[in-house]
C-alpha cells in the first residue's frame, strides 16, 4: 500500500542554490504507529516529525532527479508541453526508485517511486515489497490527471489553492493508498465520472 503521496518543486540542476525545495501538497494516508509517549505535546511532535519526513523525501527525490538529468545531459525544460492525449511524454520524463532504510526517515523500511515533470516532482512512498510496476503506472496516471484537471501547463497554474481537486483525484484512483489494477476502459469511465462531478 502507499504510505504517502507528495508533490514538490524541482529546482533546475544547473542553477545556483536559490530557495528551498518546497512541498506543495502531501497526503499521508495513515500515521505510523507512534511510540507510547505520555509527555505533553506528543501530538505536536508527531505532526512535526511527519512533515519533516515528507520534506526529507522531497529533497531526496529532487537530488535524484537532478543527478539523473545531469547524467543524461538534458535540461528540465526539454519536455515540450503535450496535449492530454499524449501519455507517451510521461514515459520519457525522468523517473526512478530508491529505498529508504528503517528509521531513515520512516520507522519502517520503505520504497519511493518518483517522477519529475517540468519543475514539479511527484512521489509515492510505498511499503517495502510493493508491486513497483503497478506503482509506477499509478503514479503516471495520477500525474497525467493532475496536469489535465488542474491545467498545470497554463502560465497562471496554481496548485496550492486547489487541494480539493487533488483530493478528488486521489479518492478515486488511490483510495486510502490502495493501488488499483485499472484497465484502460475503467480508467476512462472513472475519469468521465470525475469530470462530471468536478467540471473543469
Amino acid at each position: 500500500m502507499v504510505h504517502a503521496f507528495l508533490i514538490h518543486t524541482l529546482r533546475a540542476p544547473h542553477a545556483e542554490d536559490t530557495g528551498f525545495c518546497r512541498v506543495l501538497y502531501s497526503c499521508v494516508f495513515a500515521a505510523e504507529k507512534s511510540p507510547d509517549d505520555p509527555r505533553p505535546h506528543g501530538a505536536e511532535r508527531d505532526r512535526l516529525l511527519r512533515k519533516e519526513q515528507i520534506l526529507a523525501v522531497a529533497r531526496q527525490v529532487e537530488s535524484m532527479c537532478r543527478l539523473q538529468q545531469q547524467a543524461s545531459g538534458r535540461s528540465p525544460m526539454d519536455l515540450p508541453p503535450q496535449s492530454s492525449d499524449e501519455p507517451t511524454s510521461l514515459h520519457e520524463a525522468p523517473h526512478g526508485a530508491f529505498r529508504l532504510a528503517a528509521g531513515d526517515p520512516f520507522q519502517e523500511p520503505r520504497t519511493v517511486v518518483w517522477l519529475g515533470v517540468l519543475s514539479l516532482g511527484f512521489a509515492l512512498v510505498l511499503d517495502a515489497h510493493e508491486n513497483l510496476l503497478l506503482a509506477e503506472g499509478t503514479l503516471r496516471l495520477l500525474t497525467r490527471f493532475l496536469f489535465d484537471h488542474l491545467r498545470l501547463l497554463a502560465p497562471s497554474a496554481n496548485l496550492l489553492l486547489r487541494a480539493d481537486r487533488v483530493e478528488a483525484i486521489l479518492t478515486r484512483f488511490l483510495p486510502h493508498g490502495q493501488l488499483l489494477f485499472l484497465n484502460d476502459q475503467l480508467v476512462q469511465g472513472l475519469e468521465k465520472e470525475l469530470s462530471a462531478a468536478w467540471p473543469l
Binding site: 545531459g73 480539493d164 483530493e167 476502459q185
Partner: protein
C-alpha cells in the same frame, strides 16, 4: 514556473498570525452554517493551505473544529466540502480532543472519509481497531441503498496493513466469503448504459454484450481485472477492488497467517484432505472453511490472469496492466504456496509454461524477477532447477537493459532479498558481479546504497583481485557503456539514452577499432573469469569522457564501495590473497582513470586500506619487500601519489623487523635504508626545478622517522642517520626546500629531527620505543604489576634509594 508564485503564497500562509486565523475561523463557521457554496469552498481551500504550509501546529477554535467534523459526517453535503473538511482535519492530525468517532456512521462513503482522519491520529485511542470494526459491521449490514460496500474495502485494507491479525476470526471469515463472491462470481455482462432519452422516450437501451478480453475477444471465463467493456457494473468494480487488496489481506488476515511454521503444522493435519479438495474443480471448494475457500479462489484468479497475460492487448494502458498483473499473480502464488503447500505443484507447472514465453522477451524482464524469486524460494520442495532462469537473468538482463532505472532498482532489490537463497555451489551469483556492476556504473546515485549491502555477499576469495580491479575501473565502465549505447544498431530510432550533451567522436572510433576490441570486451564482460587485464590503453582512449556527468557520479561512489569491499574481503582473505591485494593497491595507485578528483579520493582510501592490510598481517612488508623497494625508489613517484608513498614508507618503518617476520634480514633493512636515505637527501638538499612543487613536510618527516626506526634495529646505521638528522636540523629557510616554504613546516621538520636525534642517543630506548613488540599494544602490559615498566622502574629506584640510605619518597 511554479516557484515564485508558490513561494509568496506559502510565505503569506505561514505568516498569518493567530488572531487573524481565529477571525478567519469564525468567518468559516458563519459561511458553513448559512449556505455552504462557492465562498465556503474558497475559504476552506485557504484554510487547508494555512494548515498545511507550516510544519508547526496551528490551533483552530473549537466551534470551527466541531463544525468541520459535522460537515464531514453529513452525507447531504457536497463532495467538495466533505473532501476539504477531511483534508483539513487530516492535515492537523494528530489533534487532541478530536470528537470524531465512527461509531454512528451508517454511510460507507462517510466512513471512508472519517477513516482518513481517524487513521491519521496515530492510534493513541485504538482508532485503527474501531475503524476496522465499524467497517466490518457496515459490510455485514448489506444496505440496499447508498454507495454500497466499495468504499469500505480500501479502509479495511489499510486497517489490516497497519494492524495485522487483530480482526477476530469470525469477522475475518465474513470478509473471506464476500471476497470470494466478488472475485469469482462477478457478472460477465457489461454494465448497462444509462437511458439517454428524456421523459417521453421509451428506454431503448441496447442489450449490453459480454465483457471482452484485452485483445477484443469475448471473455472465456470469469471476470477479472483484465476483462474490459464499455461500462462496468458495481460487482465488477468490487472485483477490481477485491483483487487490488488481495495480497495485503492474505498476508495479514487472521491469526493463522503468522509465520510459515503454522502453515506447516496445519498442512500435516489437513494435507490429505486439502490436496484432494483442491485437486477437484472449484465447485467443490464451498466445502472448505472460508479462508481456504478464499485461497482456492485466489489461486484460480491467478491462473486466469496468467492465461490472460498471454493475449496481445490492443491498448498500451492494458498492456502495461498485463505486466503489473503478471507480477502480482506470481507474488500472490508465492504467498498462497506458503500458506497452502498443496498448491505448489500446480503453481510450478503454470510458471514453467510462463517462463518459456517470457525468457526471450526483453520487455518482460521485470516480470521474470518475481518468478525467479518464486523458484528460488520453493525450488527444493519440488526439485525444480532454478539455475537456468538465474543464469539467464544474471548474464543477459543487465547487459541489455541497464539503462532503465526501474529495472536496475528492482534487480538490485531482487538480489538483496534473495541473498540467503543463492546456493554457493551453483556458482551463479558471485561470479556475476561484472554484470551487476553495469547497473551500478550506470545508476550510481540510486544504487550505491543497495550495493553497500550486496558487495559483501559478492566478495569471494577466488575473484577478489578481479573485483578490486573492476571497482577501480568502474568509471571507465560507465564511459564504455555510454559508447556501447551510441554504437548499438537501435541507436538512431529510439530516444537517446546516452549523455546528449557530449559528442565523443574519437572515443567512438576507438570503440569500433579492432585494436581495442579485446579490452572493451573484457571491460563489458558479464561473468568473472579469474583473469585480469590492464586497461591503461582504454584510460587514455576514454579520457575525453572523463568529465561527463555520469562518469563523475560513478567516480564519487567508488571510494565508499572500496571501503565496503575491504571490510568484507579481510574476513575471507588468507595470507596469499592479502599480499595480492596489497600489490594491486601499489600498482593501481598510478593507473587510475583520470576523472577530476577521483585520484585524490581513491588514493586516500588506498593508503588507509594498505595500512590496514599491513596491520592485519605485518609479515606482508617483509614478503613484499622487493615490490615496496621498487615503489619507493623514485622521486617522481612522490608527487603523483603522495599518500600512498607516505603510507608505504610508514609501513616499512613499522613492520620491517624480525619481531614481525623472522625472514627479515639485515641486508633488507640496509637496502631500504640506503634507498630512503638517498630519497630524503634528494628532496631536501638538491636544487629543485621551478616547475616541481615543493616536497610536503609530511613526506620529509615520515622519511626521517622511518630511517630512525630502521637505524634503531640495525644499530650500525645510527651514525649515518644522526648525520642526516643534524643536517636537517640546520636547514636554512632558503629556497632549497622549494619556492615558498612556510616557517611552520621547517620548524616541524627541525623539531622532529631534534627529537629523533635525542632518542638515538640512547639506542636501547630507541629500540624499545620504535619496535616495542606486540605485547606493548595490549593493555595488560601496562596494568600487570609484574610486567608494567613504570611500576618496575619505580620499585627499582625505591630499592636503590633505600640501599643508598636516602629517605624513601
Amino acid at each position: 514556473m511554479f516557484t515564485t508564485g508558490a513561494e509568496s503564497l506559502l510565505h503569506q500562509a505561514r505568516e498569518i498570525q493567530d488572531e487573524e486565523l481565529s477571525r478567519f475561523c469564525s468567518r468559516i463557521v458563519k459561511l458553513l452554517q448559512k449556505d455552504p457554496g462557492a465562498e465556503a469552498v474558497d475559504a476552506l481551500r485557504r484554510l487547508f493551505l494555512i494548515i498545511s504550509a507550516t510544519k508547526y501546529g496551528r490551533r483552530l477554535e473549537k466551534p470551527c473544529m466541531d463544525l468541520l467534523q459535522t460537515t464531514l459526517c453529513s452525507p447531504t453535503c457536497p463532495e467538495q466540502l466533505q473532501l476539504l473538511c477531511a483534508a483539513i482535519l487530516r492535515e492537523m492530525a494528530p489533534s487532541e480532543g478530536l470528537a470524531l468517532s465512527c461509531d454512528h456512521i451508517q454511510n460507507s462513503r462517510t466512513l471512508s472519509l472519517a477513516a482518513s482522519v481517524l487513521l491519521a491520529q496515530g492510534d493513541r485511542q485504538d482508532e485503527v481497531r474501531n475503524v476496522g470494526q465499524r467497517a466490518l459491521q457496515l459490510l455485514e449490514a448489506r444496505q440496499p441503498e447508498g454507495p454500497g460496500p466499495r468504499p469500505l474495502l480500501p479502509v479495511l485494507s489499510k486497517v489490516v496493513s497497519l494492524a495485522p491479525g487483530t480482526l477476530p476470526q469470525a469477522q475475518a471469515d465474513l470478509l473471506h466469503r464476500r471476497l470470494v463472491d466478488w472475485l469469482r462470481y462477478a457478472s460477465i455482462q457489461q454494465g448497462a448504459a444509462q437511458p439517454s432519452g428524456g421523459f417521453f422516450s421509451a428506454p431503448r437501451t441496447r442489450q449490453p454484450g459480454p465483457v471482452t478480453e484485452v485483445d477484443g475477444a469475448v471473455a472465456t471465463d470469469f471476470f477479472t481485472v483484465l476483462s474490459t467493456g464499455q461500462r462496468f457494473t458495481e460487482d465488477q468494480r468490487l472485483n477490481v477492488q477485491a483483487f487490488s487488496m488481495l495480497r495485503t489481506w492474505l498476508l495479514s488476515s487472521g491469526p493463522t497467517s503468522a509465520g510459515a511454521a503454522d502453515a506447516d503444522d496445519r498442512s500435516e493435519l489437513e494435507g490429505s484432505t486439502l490436496s484432494v479438495l483442491s485437486a477437484t474443480s472449484a465447485t467443490a471448494s464451498h466445502l472448505l472453511p472460508p479462508q481456504q475457500q478464499l485461497r482456492a479462489g485466489a489461486f484460480e484468479y491467478c491462473q486466469r490472469l496468467l492465461e490472460q497475460s498471454t493475449r496481445r492487448a490492443l491498448r498500451r494502458g492494458d498492456s502495461d496492466l498485463q505486466k503489473s498483473c503478471l507480477v502480482e499473480a506470481v507474488q500472490l502464488l508465492d504467498v498462497l504456496c506458503r500458506q497452502e503447500p498443496s498448491f505448489l505443484y500446480r503453481a510450478l507447472s503454470c510458471l514453467k509454461a510462463l517462463l518459456g514465453r517470457l525468457c526471450g522477451d526483453p520487455a518482460q524482464a521485470r516480470a521474470l524477477l518475481p518468478i525467479a524469486r518464486f523458484l528460488l524460494s520453493h525450488g527444493e520442495a519440488a526439485a525444480v532447477d532454478s539455475e537456468a532462469i538465474c543464469q539467464h537473468l544474471f548474464s543477459s538482463v543487465p547487459a541489455e537493459l541497464f539503462p532503465s532505472p526501474m529495472l536496475a532498482f528492482e534487480f538490485a532489490q531482487f538480489c538483496r532479498d534473495s541473498l540467503h537463497l543463492f546456493s554457493p555451489d551453483q556458482g551463479i551469483f558471485k561470479p556475476s558481479f561484472p554484470s551487476l556492476f553495469k547497473l551500478l556504473a550506470w545508476h550510481s546515485p540510486a544504487l550505491t546504497s543497495e550495493f553497500v549491502v550486496l558487495l559483501p555477499a559478492l566478495v569471494d576469495a577466488g575473484t577478489a583481485v578481479e573485483m578490486l580491479h573492476a571497482l577501480l575501473d568502474l568509471p571507465c565502465l560507465t564511459a564504455a557503456l555510454d559508447l556501447q549505447l551510441r554504437s548499438s544498431p537501435a541507436a538512431s530510432s529510439e530516444r537517446p539514452l546516452w549523455d546528449i550533451s557530449l559528442r565523443p567522436t574519437s572515443c567512438l572510433e576507438g570503440f569500433r577499432d579492432p585494436q581495442f576490441q579485446g579490452l572493451f570486451q573484457y571491460l563489458l564482460r558479464t561473468k568473472a573469469g579469474g583473469i585480469t587485464k590492464r586497461l591503461a590503453p582504454l584510460h587514455r582512449l576514454l579520457q575525453p569522457m572523463a568529465s561527463c556527468a555520469r562518469v563523475v557520479q560513478c567516480a564519487e561512489a567508488v571510494p565508499t564501495l572500496l571501503q565496503v569491499f575491504f571490510a568484507a574481503v579481510t574476513q575471507v582473505a588468507d595470507g596469499a590473497l592479502t599480499a595480492q591485494l596489497a600489490l594491486v593497491l601499489l600498482e593501481r595507485s598510478n593507473f587510475l582513470f583520470q576523472v577530476p578528483q577521483y585520484e585524490a579520493q581513491v588514493h586516500r582510501v588506498m593508503s588507509s586500506q594498505f595500512l590496514a592490510l599491513c596491520r592485519l598481517r605485518p609479515a606482508l612488508v617483509v614478503e613484499l619487500a622487493r615490490d615496496l623497494l621498487d615503489f619507493v625508489g623514485s622521486v617522481s613517484g612522490i608527487h603523483s601519489r603522495e599518500r600512498m608513498f607516505t603510507a608505504v614508507v610508514w609501513a616499512v618503518g613499522e613492520y620491517l623487523a624480525v619481531s614481525y617476520d623472522r625472514r627479515c634480514t639485515v641486508e633488507q633493512v640496509n637496502r631500504f635504508f640506503e634507498s630512503l636515505e638517498a630519497l630524503l637527501f634528494e628532496v631536501t638538499q638538491s636544487r629543485r626545478s621551478a616547475t616541481l612543487p615543493p616536497c610536503p613536510p609530511q613526506v620529509v618527516t615520515v622519511l626521517m622517522t622511518t630511517l630512525t626506526k630502521l637505524a634503531s634495529r640495525s644499530q650500525d646505521l645510527i651514525p649515518r642517520v644522526s648525520l642526516l638528522l643534524s643536517k636537517l636540523r640546520a636547514l636554512p629557510q632558503g629556497p632549497a626546500m622549494g619556492s615558498a616554504p612556510r616557517d611552520e613546516d621547517t620548524d616541524t621538520i627541525r623539531t622532529r629531527a631534534t627529537e629523533l636525534t635525542n632518542l638515538l642517543k640512547m639506542p636501547s630506548v630507541a629500540q624499545f620505543v620504535f619496535t616495542p613488540g606486540t605485547e606493548a599494544s595490549t593493555p595488560r602490559f601496562h596494568r600487570d604489576a609484574n610486567t608494567a615498566l613504570p611500576l618496575a622502574l619505580h620499585t627499582v629506584s625505591r630499592l636503590m634509594d633505600r640501599e643508598a640510605g636516602l629517605p624513601v619518597a
